[in-house]
Amino acid sequence: MSEEEHSTNDQWPLWEVFTQKKRGAPHQHAGSVHAPDPEMALQNARDVYARRSEAVNIWVVPSSEITASNPSDKESFFDPADDKIYRHPQFYEVPRAAKKRTSSGS
């Protein structure tokens, strides 16, 4: 990088931050940070999104590497799931007695 490029003071790349609340929990999107490299992205993410033990683990991912589905395609993209009620337990009927036995103790 030349001297000139240094002084332009351009914005650092954007990173998406995912935090894990406790061990065993899934990582969840917390927000984003700017940083010149992955190491600093992690440190910034810790300072910005985990000042009160909100995380035991953090992922940072360059925002430019994320591919998202398009909200305007929402219907066509997700509708294969909408008409498959047989993927849910409510679709099925079982004899009453059997039902009672499996839910005993509740």
């Binding site: 990088m1 240094h6 002084s7 003071n9 351009d10 914005q11 650092w12 954007l14 927000g31 984003s32 940070v33 700017h34 010149p36 490299d37 600093m40 300072d47 910005v48 000042r51 009160r52 998202a68 398009n70 909200p71 305007s72």
Partner: protein
């Protein structure tokens, strides 16, 4: 269905608008305006308090204040990054602030003259900000709402540490009581102005409420704050500096005297006691941080080269 109708339908059904959704240009621009002003307020808001960190009266107070000011930096960062989802870069917003083109909350253009002012900022200013931010949790733009949820969790500590400072002084020796009353006298009216001009003269309110960006008007929010904070003041033995203040038994609300809106417009125009000083301090901080940013960039660059060589 046309995009405009789909957008309207989402708003009506209280569905959140997300970054990649179609939205009217005006909705986008109003949010950029509002959110960037909010972010700037968090950043500039660090200055009046920051200048008391080294003079805090005890280690306990110093730790609390330091943590609070650090939180405000965090708030600025959350809101800047969530504003970026609307298509403006953080650098652009920061440039607007440093060039003096952007607005931020008027309240930070008042000076912090005594330690009691730090209590007032936490108790009153953060208290007022909380009323506003609690309303904004329900805002229609998803990323703004998410930033507000995170912020509201932290504001409670800000308000409480301020309230504790005020209560301690109000319970202290006569000089301390005088100091805290003087601070209240100076901060009371500017705090009430934080909610913005009255509904009768608020150019943006209608539109923002139609889009559910705001869920309550300036006057409604101001009233919520007044009704909550006046009993607290009385309980601490403080006197609200408003000769016209009365409690309306019928409505159950406190009614305040006339707010000096000329002062409000003067401060917005840049003629407040500290406008110039605050921007100068920000600019200086930005400049003195330049070498740190450059060093971090050089380091990142070197690491990358080394990695390329190794692979």
């Amino acid at each position: 269905m046309k995009e405009q109708d789909k957008f309207q339908e989402k708003i009506e059904q209280d569905e959140k608008i997300e970054p990649k959704d179609w939205m009217p240009d005006r909705y986008r621009n109003q949010l950029i305006r509002m959110m960037s002003q909010h972010a700037h307020s968090e950043i500039v808001g660090m200055l009046p308090e920051g200048n008391w960190i080294t003079r805090a009266p005890s280690l306990r107070r110093k730790m609390g204040l330091l943590a609070k000011v650090q939180d405000e930096a965090g708030h600025g960062m959350y809101i800047y990054s969530n504003t970026e989802t609307l298509g403006i870069s953080r650098q652009e917003m920061i440039d607007q602030l440093l060039k003096g083109e952007a607005k931020y909350s008027n309240i930070f253009n008042y000076p912090t003259l005594s330690w009691a002012d730090i209590g007032m900022i936490g108790w009153l200013v953060d208290g007022a900000a909380m009323v506003n931010q609690t309303m904004l949790v329900k805002t229609s733009y998803g990323p703004y709402s998410r930033a507000m949820i995170r912020i509201c969790k932290e504001e409670n500590f800000h308000r409480k540490q301020g309230h504790e400072i005020v209560a301690t002084l109000a319970n202290g020796i006569p000089e301390q009581q005088e100091m805290v009353q003087d601070a209240l006298n100076r901060w009371w009216w500017p705090t009430l102005m934080m909610f913005g001009p009255p509904d009768s003269n608020s150019p943006h309110t209608n539109e923002l409420m139609q889009w559910k960006v705001k869920r309550k008007s300036n006057d409604e929010l101001r009233q919520d704050f007044i009704d909550r904070v006046i009993p607290e003041a009385h309980q601490m033995g403080l006197k609200i500096p408003d000769p016209d203040l009365i409690f309306n038994e019928e409505t159950g609300h406190w009614e305040i005297g006339e707010i000096d809106w000329d002062e409000f417009w003067q401060v917005i125009k840049g003629n407040g006691p500290m406008n110039h000083e605050r921007l100068e301090t920000r600019r200086k901080a930005h400049e003195s941080g330049r070498w740190v940013r450059e060093a971090a960039e050089a380091y990142a660059h070197k690491q990358k080269l080394q990695q390329q060589k190794a692979s």
